[in-house]
Point group: C2
DNA sequence: CCAAAAGTGTTGAGAGTACACCCATGG
DNA sequence: CCATGGGTGTACTCTCAACACTTTTGG
């Protein structure tokens, strides 16, 4: 083992596809690369793994450094390791997906906002290396996950309306859902509870706010239930 | 890039959990380690990745070397990288699951059979490193997979009986299934067709042999359907 | 009073589940 | 003729999918 556990391992990196949900859109957080290769391009946040660190820890570190968020949903998607994916030397990268609530996220916390930005997941700029493939895989993973366990907790602020939640599902799944069936389904799971507050924005009937019931939510997640939509 | 693409990368290895189905049991292929560390112990087949190779290719190579099988179902399960998982130096391993049909498998092809053996998946010997955790994760993966797409094609010989297929599912899922419901389900998918041959072994009514219909099977797999059992 | 989105129930079809008896063979 | 496992059908329940109108607000 190395003496210096903070030294980096140049062969192994992590990259994070960080999803957030804002303005009724699924968005991905990109950073502007400050160093070569691909300096100046928008790319996935990532970095090399350190000697005393696991890849999952490296991914948490990257997430924390770019967003200030800890303890978010963060999951490995897979290894990306085409031989020439990185131009300078051989790098194996372990890709991760994260879901965070932009509200929890202090984007400008100590950072110049000009080098970290949300982009709509379906209108990303051209990305360097194999980052486009990584994003595509992350989206796929998200689509599968959405079908086997509820999302929302990780990606939403404290309170939200059911139409907002529905829009999230529609964006992720890429298809429209029936309002009534969606509500029926969500409410039957009992992991959200209605608040006595209302979203009074706009010329329309106010939408009731809901909040997640953490206990129920965790219980359901552990059981690993089906979520057919 | 290195000049010698066949040189190994000592930081990254692959390990394969190779499942087979025989004697009505789900089995795992282990090899007896010929070198230190853990020389003489039964362990997962694996090896270091080479410089000109992807991890998926390394896994295919390992599978081919130990079984003679190419083009089997082989999928990444994840990275296992506890800092001290390997006693000599830091090694990140990318674990894979494979399903093969023991019939296709020339176990003794050029190999001394004493150092490669099937073990019942639920009665494995004590394994070195983190290999037990890898097997546990592989089994979990298999359980999930079994629910979203049919297995059998990869793991079964050319022809098989429905009771055999049912037993496979029971072993993987760890619960008994109703004969009638199972047959109804399988037959309704039309990816198996009945042959005019029968398994006449034993003092019982002969079981009809079936074979997979590759086209239908692939079509279903692509659609990614639900397989509730 | 108009536009815009929130909210609300019912019905029919299909899938899953539970369940018991007869059949073909080898010994 | 007996033991062993193979093979078959039906009824009930529950979940999913389709579908239209009323409500509340801001402008």
């Amino acid at each position: 083992m190395s003496h210096n556990l903070r030294e980096i391992i140049k062969t192994i990196s992590v990259d994070c596809v960080i999803f957030g949900y804002e303005r009724s859109m699924l968005e991905v957080l990109l950073i502007r690369r400050a160093v070569d290769p691909a300096r100046g391009m928008w790319a996935l946040p990532g970095g090399f793994v350190k000697k005393g660190e696991r890849t999952s820890e490296a991914a948490e570190r990257v997430l924390h450094q770019t967003t200030g968020v800890k303890d978010a949903y963060l999951e490995e998607i897979g290894v990306f390791d085409e031989v020439d994916r990185y131009p300078l030397w051989r790098v194996f990268t372990v890709a991760h997906v994260a879901l965070i609530s932009p509200e929890h996220y202090g984007l400008t916390a100590g950072k110049d906002t000009s080098d970290v930005r949300w982009f709509p997941a379906h209108e990303l700029p051209h990305l360097p290396f194999d980052h486009s493939a990584i994003v595509a895989t992350a989206l796929e993973k998200l689509r599968k996950r959405v079908r086997t366990q509820p999302i929302g907790f990780e990606i939403f602020p404290e309170r939200f309306t059911l139409p907002q939640l529905q829009t999230l599902y529609e964006v992720v799944l890429g298809k429209e859902l029936d309002k009534r069936n969606f509500r029926k389904k969500i409410l039957s799971m009992h992991f959200v509870r209605k608040l006595r507050e209302f979203d009074t924005n706009g010329g329309r009937r106010p939408a009731a706010y809901y909040a997640f019931d953490r206990k129920q939510y965790d219980r359901l997640k552990d059981r690993g239930f089906e979520f057919g939509l």
